[in-house]
């Protein structure tokens, strides 16, 4: 029991101080019937580090590791190279084993980092302010919908067909309980996004329009006309960014006058991790900060006049406002926000732009090559590092077949939209700086064989 420092003589001495005859005396308030006498069913006794590591390693080996095969998955989680110093720094015990910075005099490290993170996120998204993180992109998205309801006092949200279907599912779940009405759509396998349809559907009841940029099929479109249409009806534009690296190459949603911008920060600093933990990004126009969920770090001074940082505007939060809070969120994604911030500091603006350029150029080359495979059609014309192919057959079995050959080919639309027969032939392919020319050639050659 290597994690438990008390010795039996310690325990005996402490019981004596307490005035208890045995440890059971300290559990007297537990009713007899509720006391568990035996061991937990089936759970072995304590094990050595070696034994546990062996067990866990065996489980890890049953997975196909993304970095060991040609890999093209995206759709909300992206594989990027994370510099070694990021993981080193987040494992410093002073970051890893600290708590939420409620005692600011001895938490300036976390607080200053959060202030820097908020600034980086706001600048990247093009918003005035950003909060100190949410759980992930999907939960940040539904929190934004709730925020729009509080600001506009209207409850009809229009969700673009290009919004990640899991994000739509999360919003649908929450809307059942919050009284929001959601208008949703499925994407069409076309080059154009649904922005014109969205603009036509806004009316006086609309609280917000939620649009993903780039969208689930990888498409990008100017959001400015949509923002104008929203504002003409006193509705808010919520933009969702699942691949923040894109904002090194394309205009930010804030620049196009989005009111709230949320994002999934995973692709900078965090890694794939089978879906979590990730880090939700959330920024907005300054006038809306008091309706924002989550934590804010703010600048102030100490009693000696020195600059310092504290958690602030907490009167929005659950520990003060209880049932009147803007959200029930408490713990957020502090350590992932740190990883994001360190990676972003290493990149800097020049590095982010270069990284984005490499991603985009690689994706263009891959799209051109894959579109040469007989029967394969490139659906997406304007894109960043992810595009959609239309195969001559259902994509899902093709993905499975290629996985058996050691190629992780992308995300089939059949996996994301099992009930939409019209989308079954779609395959979303992501290309990042980690994708090599050989990977693309391997995929293209295998597709040629499988589709022949």
């Amino acid at each position: 029991m290597r994690y438990l420092p008390l010795t039996q003589p310690d325990r005996d001495a402490m019981l004596e101080v307490i005035g208890a005859a045995s440890i059971d005396d300290l559990f007297v308030d537990v009713p007899e019937a509720a006391r568990l006498s035996g061991a937990i069913h089936g759970l072995p006794n304590h094990a050595s580090e070696l034994a546990v590591e062996r067990h866990m390693t065996a489980l890890a080996r049953q997975n196909t590791v993304a970095g060991e095969v040609p890999f093209f998955l995206g759709a909300g989680a992206y594989r990027h190279h994370v510099p070694a110093s990021v993981d080193h720094l987040i494992q410093r015990g002073e970051f890893l084993t600290a708590y939420t910075p409620y005692q600011p005099e001895i938490a300036q490290g976390t607080l200053q980092m959060l202030f820097e993170f908020q600034t980086q996120v706001a600048r990247l998204l093009g918003t005035d302010v950003a909060n100190a993180s949410m759980y992930d992109g999907s939960t940040a998205c539904w929190e934004a919908i709730g925020m729009a309801r509080r600001i506009t006092r209207k409850s009809k949200a229009i969700l673009s067909g290009g919004l990640h279907p899991h994000y739509v599912s999360v919003a649908k779940t929450m809307a059942k309980y919050t009284g929001d009405t959601l208008e949703t759509a499925t994407p069409q396998l076309t080059a154009d996004t649904d922005i014109d349809t969205l603009i036509a559907s806004i009316d006086a009841e609309t609280s917000c329009v939620v649009v993903q940029y780039p969208d689930i099929l990888g498409r990008i479109a100017d959001l400015t006309p949509l923002a104008d249409a929203c504002h003409a009806h006193k509705a808010l534009l919520i933009a969702v960014v699942t691949e923040p690296v894109a904002l090194g190459a394309i205009r930010s949603p804030g620049e196009m006058d989005a009111d709230i911008v949320v994002g999934e920060g995973q692709s900078i600093g965090v890694g794939l991790q089978f879906g979590g933990p990730y880090v939700g990004l959330m920024g907005c126009k300054e006038k809306y900060i008091r309706q924002m969920p989550g934590r804010f770090c703010g600048e102030t001074v100490d009693a000696n006049g020195k600059r310092g940082f504290v958690l602030t505007l907490s009167t929005r939060e659950q520990h003060i406002r209880r049932e009147k809070a803007t959200s029930n969120i408490c713990t957020n994604s502090g350590l992932c926000a740190l990883a994001f911030s360190i990676h972003m500091t290493l990149l800097g603006e020049a590095g982010l732009r270069r990284l984005a350029g490499i991603n985009h150029a690689g994706a263009c080359r891959a799209a051109d090559r894959l579109a040469q495979v007989p029967g394969v059609e490139l659906v997406t014309q304007s894109f960043f590092n992810e595009f959609t192919l239309k195969l001559p057959t259902e994509a899902r079995p093709v993905v499975r077949t290629l996985a058996d050959r050691g190629i992780l080919a992308g995300v089939s639309l059949g996996r994301l939209y099992p009930d939409e027969a019209g989308l079954a032939n779609g395959l979303i392919v992501a290309v990042t700086e980690t994708t090599t020319a050989e990977d693309v050639e391997t995929l293209a050659a295998a597709l040629e064989e499988v589709l022949a």
Binding site: M1, Y3, L4, L6, D10, V17, V28, A39, L43, H46, V52, M56, A60, Q62, V65, A66, L73, G76, S85, Q91, A98, Y102, E105, I106, Q108, G109, T110, E116, T119, R123, L124, D128, D136, V170, T173, I220, I250, G271, Q273, F274, G276, D302, A303, N304, V310, T312, S314, E323, C330, L335, I342, L346, L347, G348, G351, L352, R354, C364, A403, L416
Partner: protein
């Protein structure tokens, strides 16, 4: 756990021992001041080298970014130094005892970190074909089995991202179950006054009306008041056990039976499960839903405010309503992922999806590693040592500080004190800040609300007797100073990287992002 709510703000520069001899840099030997990245970096610097190569060719249309972003970059050595310097301004479990009541700051085993970083877990995409992620699904499934066994429940929802998200999951299960029964009219959720703020916030979010239930003088839920309030409009009771006063709710089974008889459900806030793990199963107490903070009981790192992970164990009555996705082990050992596609057949009553993917995989690997390392005997010892340490603190300090429930019997994993016998003009906040100068993180202060000037101390099981003795000595010394009216305490901490910070200023004129100083000022 709780933030400073005392309303204190600085009025004048305090005499600060630290500033007695100014230095050129503002540094004090190992205490190094560090500017913001925006003040030391610039937009043309990068700490990352990329492969040479052509980045021409654009399918970006007119969306190509033209405006600058304003992101400061640093070289790698500068980056390492910046964050290393920042890290040294933090208190952490790795530095010392971290007695935050209800937050459970225990040692984070490093094997867990190593395991979470195995490429087979860290470098796997959530949408890979299920045949290529059987080991990852195996981790989720194995952890789920142990959580069910440890709690004596029927099922578990693994996807909630943190405790509060788990609370929401449990409450949505209750809501869905009521609607299925045609009793959606039950609108009231009863929450004890001593509950975490997330409880009422969660219930309100789900559209329930929250009503407070008072506490008795001995620090427990007033069972009679609770039973008297039950009726056809009550959907659920949210109860924390052990509660936030550090006491076991003796009557929980009787409460559960009464709630069930009245047609409601019992939600248990499992934030304090670490006190009873291996000794008591909440399922045996009639609980219908309970979230487990993996970052508390099972020691995944708090990371300066997350990520957490909040799986929710469910009774047989609520299990059919749990969220997607989840795993199911087939007869042949293959693990299936139940998502929207197959839910119609396998799980028709699910309330839906709470998050994009499968939950906090990186926390699951750590928690499973922790459970297997401790085993059945170790987990039981965890609860026993946690309770022993808390009682040792309680009995060692009850003669110094007012301990409002000391006469109620033993505490569980945390000991609570009040500000009752401090000198006039001295507050819990002063004691907390005095502890900082002694090299300790303060306990949770001003929570729970049922105790005036509450100080909630949770030492956890990973502290040695020597560490406890030193902490007890320090707290006793600071408390004696507060009782004697030592004014130096009012301006503590004196030796921290910062003196007390002006929280009122921060809230009144929020500065949430860095802005370039005006040119004239910058030129000075």
């Amino acid at each position: 756990m709780s933030i400073n709510q005392s309303g204190w703000r600085p009025k004048m520069t305090a005499a600060n021992g630290n500033d007695a001899a100014p230095t050129f840099t503002g540094n004090r030997a190992l205490m190094l001041e560090e500017a913001l990245i925006f003040e030391i970096g610039d937009t043309s610097t990068t700490g990352v080298d990329f492969a040479e190569g052509d980045v021409a060719g654009s399918r970006l249309g007119d969306l190509s970014r033209k405006a600058p972003i304003g992101l400061a970059g640093l070289s790698e050595p500068e980056t390492i130094r910046h964050y290393t310097r920042l890290s040294r301004q933090n208190y952490a479990i790795d530095l010392g005892l971290f007695p935050l009541g209800s937050c459970t700051m225990k040692h984070n085993p490093r094997l867990n970190e190593k395991v979470a970083r195995l490429p087979g877990f860290a470098d796997v995409h959530p949408l890979q074909p299920v045949d290529t992620v059987q080991g990852a699904l195996g981790v989720i499934n194995e952890l789920a089995v142990w959580l069910i066994e440890l709690t004596g429940m029927h099922g578990v929802a693994m996807s909630p991202k943190a405790g509060a998200h788990g609370e929401l999951c449990g409450i949505l299960c209750i809501k869905a179950a009521l609607e299925k029964r045609g009793e959606g009219h039950r609108k009231v959720v009863l929450v004890p006054e001593s509950a975490h703020g997330t409880n009422p916030a969660t219930a309100a979010f789900a559209g329930f009306m929250v009503e407070d239930i008072p506490a008795t003088a001995d620090g427990r839920v007033d069972t009679d008041a609770l039973k008297a309030r039950l009726g056809p409009d009550v959907a659920a009771v949210m109860i924390t056990n052990p509660n936030t006063c550090g006491l076991f709710e003796r009557d929980l089974k009787a409460i559960s039976d009464a709630v069930h008889d009245a047609g409601g459900y019992v939600y248990c806030d499992g934030a304090n499960f670490n006190a009873i793990v291996g000794r008591v199963r909440p399922g045996d107490l009639g609980v219908d839903a309970m979230h487990i903070n993996l970052h508390k009981t099972f020691s995944t790192p708090h990371g300066g405010g997350g990520p957490g992970s909040g799986p929710v164990v469910l009774s047989e009555a609520l299990s059919p309503f749990g969220p997607l996705p989840f795993t199911a082990r087939m007869a042949d050992g293959h693990i299936q992922l139940i998502e929207e596609e197959t839910a119609g057949d396998d799980h028709p009553d699910t309330f839906g999806r709470m998050t994009a993917f499968h939950g906090q995989m990186g926390m699951f690997t750590r928690a499973l590693t922790y459970i297997l390392s401790h085993g059945a005997d170790g987990l039981r010892q965890v609860a026993e040592d946690a309770v022993l340490n808390a009682n040792y603190v309680l009995r060692s300090l009850e003669g110094t500080l007012d301990a409002p429930f000391a006469a109620s019997g033993p505490c569980m994993h945390e000991a609570i004190f009040s500000d009752a016998n401090l000198a006039e003009g001295f507050s819990t906040l002063d004691v907390a800040k005095g502890l900082i100068d002694e090299g300790f993180h303060p306990m949770t202060v001003y929570f729970p609300l049922v105790v005036h000037g509450a100080m909630l101390v949770e030492p956890t099981e990973t502290e040695s007797k020597a560490a406890l003795d030193q902490f007890i000595g320090a707290l006793r010394s600071v408390a004696e100073r507060a009782k004697a009216g030592d004014t130096a305490l009012k301006s503590a901490p004196h030796f921290a990287p910062r003196a007390r910070l002006d929280e009122t200023l921060a809230a009144r004129k929020p500065v949430l992002v860095w802005k370039e100083p005006p040119l004239a000022q910058a030129a000075e």
